[in-house]
Chain length 323, copies 2
Amino acid sequence: MHSFKELSAQFEQRFSQRQFPQSPANLYDPAQYILGIGGKRIRPVLCLLGNELFDELHPDAFEAASAIELFHNFTLIHDDIMDKAPLRRGQPTVHTKYSEPAAILAGDVMLIYSYEHLNKINSKVRQKLVGVFNKAAREVCEGQQLDMDMEQQSPEQVQYTDYVNMIALKTSVLLAASLQMGAIIGGGSEGNQQHLYEFGKNVGIAFQIQDDYLDAFGDPEKFGKQPGGDILVNKKTFLLLKALELCNPAQKAELHRLMAGNPSDKVARILQIFHECRVDEWAEKEKERFCASAYKHLDEIAVVSGRKQHLRELADFLLTRQH
Amino acid sequence: MHSFKELSAQFEQRFSQRQFPQSPANLYDPAQYILGIGGKRIRPVLCLLGNELFDELHPDAFEAASAIELFHNFTLIHDDIMDKAPLRRGQPTVHTKYSEPAAILAGDVMLIYSYEHLNKINSKVRQKLVGVFNKAAREVCEGQQLDMDMEQQSPEQVQYTDYVNMIALKTSVLLAASLQMGAIIGGGSEGNQQHLYEFGKNVGIAFQIQDDYLDAFGDPEKFGKQPGGDILVNKKTFLLLKALELCNPAQKAELHRLMAGNPSDKVARILQIFHECRVDEWAEKEKERFCASAYKHLDEIAVVSGRKQHLRELADFLLTRQH
């Protein structure tokens, strides 16, 4: 068994080689470019960890992990076009550096390469793996669409449960599927696969709540940037949606005034309302609720506790970060 | 065995049902929309014909055919964005009717659904089918990129063989792969698969030459529109590229003058040069060369001649059209 760090290094060693043909360069260079601007490779390593929960690391897990990381980067390229984002990880996005047509096509071919990796798996579990992968892939598209739909709505039109569902689809199901695919390769039972899937899904949602929380209440020194970025752009976050539910009519009116204008003390005054209606306390409890569910599912996986050590450490690390 | 028309009706009957979930509507309605604006379904029917060349029609062939038609429509959606095309088959393109983000995402999810159809095939040939599909899918992306690359070049910079290669990738390999996938499902040998693939590829190239020829020299009454559309927009066609090779310096200078400006008699004068340097005769011979190669490969497929009847009729129909 290996730690996250060890598996990350193993994956990176294979994945840092060029993943595509040299030519046509205008197709494959943009695809290679986004792989080169970093990322923590969390999803492929989750796949490897899912494998090692049940059995020795199998070469097939690296194919599945590559498919997952290519898929993730394909979604980043296309999402950045849709969101008109100029930067990704501090570097120009693919459509900014190359062109929008190049970025569309590079994303497309990366998705095809994902399936090529899955198709290299010579095992009777390949069909099941592709099924799990396809479901997650469809759901990620659905999550992106729901996110775009919600951007067109006022915060009050967005139901909290719909928002949680959107976040789960957009960000958590791929984490969950990565773990499950590893479990399938490792020979985990259907029941264990499902617990592992739910573990990943709940960790993902808890992480997103924490992310929203830190953007509002994070310690600037530990967080590395001034909090309030989401607040400034009126982003629909867990905090804003819940604050609108919890606050009184006067606070609600004030929130709307602040969001409609851009006063210089907008962040401070919205944070003040968040405090007053105790959405910070709520967020900590809500994160805790998803964390508890995640750890409960991890506990219920029927393997000896020691095998779960690295997954537990990873969840602890992801869910207690202050930065 | 069934004719193209019969198989087309069978496929359409299944495929005319909604192919996607109802929700999120903003994701799946654009995907369903493009399937509803028609198309001749040539590729999926080629897959069914490829199956029937060797064996009774198998349900798996309909899954493969659906995957192929979804893939084809995915490429249409994304190509139309890249080409900024307002219309497709006389109807608004997906990005025009909905939005560019919706069109990108609808294309993405259609590609994922292609693989979902392939994954439904419960047979030991599934891996081989996905391999053939993936190769064609990558090549179609490569062809689209090469086409965009060539648009940035002057006609003289484009080598004729590179142009043929681009056309083959962009338009012919999917026809070829559709036939081969049918052959795989029908149990055709590797050798027979390859002959069928080459048949499809050569038919595709011959068809494109014919298409270019008809746009220039077609009888307006039979062709249904005034010829010269490609000439007006300086489109790189088989004819233009070859004319630049065949013509003398004076004709070449005249061609460049006509392409640089937009005189009212541009089409007539360029057609005159095409005639003078006999590019019309050349195109007929060049088409004939690819036709001959196609029929030779069809002849070499080791099944009784009667089984090839419907494929031969289809090729005859496609390659003798005047409209």
